[in-house]
Chain length 469, copies 2
């Protein structure tokens, strides 16, 4: 077993080496062929998916699988809508600009000695995801577009669908080989958890792991590999209502941040409130009432609990009730990703206390301040150590598509490489390409007859495109 897993890693590395030399148009041929083959083989894919759905239905019936997970397993959708979206996704990736060969720095070091920093693929990526089977196609296309080799592992509930999709994609890779050199091992699928354990040890061959899935999955991977991990375990996002929070902005924004999609990592989990807002009839009352009316229950610290209890609008027997819409919080509530219509509330004395709370409890994902005081917003955005720092905007905007990346590889709470929603750029690194004419370092330095470096910047617009193949 461990031998065969090393083989998968070695094959991926060999494919990655070959992929360093593929051209934009070759990648486009491959992506178009993938779309074509998926279209041609859709009935086989639907048949495999039906097998997964049948097995999953049995688990739903036994109470072992949730209805929402079951729904996500379906690859066809009504009128083949989901499948058509998947096909369109392949074309969308094909239409993105090539992330490889982009120059981010260019300097003439000396006459005839030119240095270029040029984007290059990371190499081999291992992507682990849960039960949405279309992810295998999406990630494969992103890997191909960025000239990386990918090893993929999806949720076991999608086993038959994933196998069918990967088989079709590999057939596409095989079918282009007569026309263009493209490694068929650019995409490989593995099926078991044991294989993942083995792959996490292959830091010699694998350059980056991207786990997309539950908190516990991500943590397990972070704790069990030396390979860099791109991702996020928690999404504990906070919204802070500052003393000048606009009553026309705060209620809708907080409700959106909490309820637009509670299971998402960019949903807000904690509401911080400036003490000055503890007045009846104001922005806080309206915000809380809006949350209640949208089905949200609140876990409140002493001050906010007291505020609600004393407030005749928020504490109406028959409408909102302690123990239902609101209750006392525990300390753990401020470190919890509820992923549900539930929110922890805490009253703070100042902007600085809010920043402090966030830097201690939040997960460095996305945090928002609602204020009309620009200086407070700037201080908050400077000092909160998170991938996204928002002023008067819902945390739900933290997303690769909403940011305009055209795609999203994942969301990272790392402090290195890539942070926040990660587009194709996150699958790239750079190389320094130095073009000389027999230049020797010993000719430069201090003293008679020695040369000096010129370090003339080369305008990027004059070289952009030079390295796109």
């Amino acid at each position: 077993m461990s031998q065969s897993i090393e083989q998968v890693a070695v094959q991926a590395r060999q494919a990655a080496n070959q992929l360093q030399n593929v051209t934009s148009s070759q990648k486009s041929v491959v992506l178009q062929r993938i779309r074509q083959k998926l279209q041609e083989h859709k009935e086989e894919i639907f048949a495999a998916n039906a097998q997964d759905l049948k097995l999953a239905q049995a688990e739903v019936d036994k109470g072992n699988l949730s209805a929402s997970l079951f729904k996500r397993l379906d690859i066809k959708g009504p009128n083949e809508e989901k499948f058509n979206t998947l096909l369109q996704g392949v074309t969308d990736v094909d239409n993105l600009p090539d992330p490889i060969g982009q120059v981010s720095r260019a300097t003439e070091l000396d006459q005839g000695l030119d240095l270029y920093r040029v984007s290059a693929p990371v190499g081999v990526i291992l992507v682990i995801f849960e039960a949405r089977p279309e992810v295998v196609v999406n990630i494969s296309c992103l890997a191909i577009k960025s000239s990386n080799a990918a090893i993929l592992k999806g949720g076991k509930e999608a086993f038959h669908t994933l196998t069918a999709l990967t088989k079709v994609m590999q057939e596409a890779l095989h079918s282009v080989r007569k026309e263009i050199p493209f490694p068929t091992n650019a995409i490989q699928l593995v099926a078991t958890r044991e294989q993942i354990s083995g792959l996490l040890q292959q830091d010699r061959y694998i350059d980056l792991v991207i786990p997309r899935g539950s908190n516990s999955l991500v943590r397990h991977i972070q704790n069990n590999t030396r390979i860099p991990v791109l991702g996020h375990a928690d999404g504990i996002c906070s919204v802070f209502l500052d003393d000048t929070a606009d009553p026309n902005k705060a209620p809708g924004l907080v409700v959106d941040a909490k309820t637009n999609y509670p299971a998402a990592c960019n949903s807000a989990e904690t509401l911080l409130v400036h003490r000055k807002l503890l007045v009846p009839g104001g922005v806080l009352e309206r915000t809380i009432q809006n949350l209640f009316d949208n089905g949200v229950s609140l876990r409140c610290d002493a001050a906010s609990l007291d505020f609600i209890r004393q407030n005749p609008t928020l504490n109406q027997a028959g409408t909102y009730r302690e123990g239902e819409q609101f209750a006392a919080s525990t300390p753990e509530d401020y470190d919890t990703e509820f992923l549900d219509l539930c929110m922890a509330v805490r009253v703070v004395d100042s902007l600085e206390d809010a920043i402090d709370h966030i830097n201690t409890h939040s997960s460095k994902h996305t945090d928002c301040i609602v204020t009309e005081t620009a200086a407070h917003a700037e201080k908050f955005m400077n000092m909160v150590d998170a991938a996204g720092v928002f002023w008067n905007a819902s945390t739900r905007f933290a997303d690769g598509f909403r940011y305009g990346f055209g795609t999203e590889v994942g969301v990272s709470t790392n402090k290195t490489h890539a942070r926040g929603p990660v587009g194709l750029e996150g699958l790239t690194i750079y190389k320094y390409r130095l073009y000389g004419h027999g230049h020797k370092a010993g000719d430069f330095g201090v003293g008679a007859g020695k040369k000096q470096y010129s370090h003339h910047p080369i305008p990027l617009e004059t070289v952009q495109g030079k390295f796109v193949k």
Copy 2:
């Protein structure tokens, strides 16, 4: 002990949080004060250094310490030259552009909803270095310039000097506190290996480890922490003489790559030779003779050994001799960083074989092709998976100062975050700052009354400087 080490990490994190809000001019005040205090306290520093030198001399006498290490311990130098260079280094860092607050992406997502990707400090960095005591000042200044908190550990041979230098720098941090808010724990020094073991566990507080030192030090750290590590263990660089290598470029370039500073990580360790060059009187003969004349001994594969043995110029009894200037190689020689006037030689059949050898044996640091065939150079530079891929230029150019970065934090062979010589940029990451007016994600999407994202790029030149504090 582990409590106190956690305290160091917590203090660094608190300092890092405060540093998120410091301005360019505040950082400049601090750097100037550091220079001033070092100047004022130079006699104390020299006295501490004399203690280290005395202890080190005893170790040199006992044969426990090398003369070159002893020399590196000295912080004063003839006419205080080394110390003055150190002071100038502080000013040089002060004069670099502020790496924080730089905008790398700006997009209008909707009317009144603007997204900026802005450079930010990584946070807390742990830097481990060997016996050159001036590194503690250099790294401290780089950390301050990039708004990071640093925990520093140097070689034990420099203990007294490091303690004195750090004390003076901390005094500088204290002395500015009346004028500007600047955390005194921005710089902390730890002294023992045990403390390092403890710190490597503090991934909750420390964001990046930079080990600068021996191969074994770097490997030890890579193997014993979950914190991202920026650096390189090996520097196995190769030069490939292609079949069209220019006889006027190759010999000097190879000699420079090997002998300019053999102990450096960017020195060449392996010479790959195209089989077509195995002809007497050509570029290979001249290259080898030049290497011999510069004191280099070669570890040769069968083909190159045979070439030398048969060559009357290279195999002259009394001048060059088998067992002295040249000998048969072992397989390990191609995976060895000699750090000495020694080089492994291997004959390959093609450009592709050379690329293959390098991708298998080199350490992804810097590799060079010597060729007059542009297509070969491009293929080599595309397919060699290294931080630096050079055409007709010595591997010794792979250096932050030579690249024009103004400074060098270290050299990285990572495939993520920062690769190759790393300047101040390597100590930064970015944040997404989103400026809204109460925007809600639920207002966007498909269907009646829903808004669409505009995704208008905002020209960077119109916003550059907006976030530099």
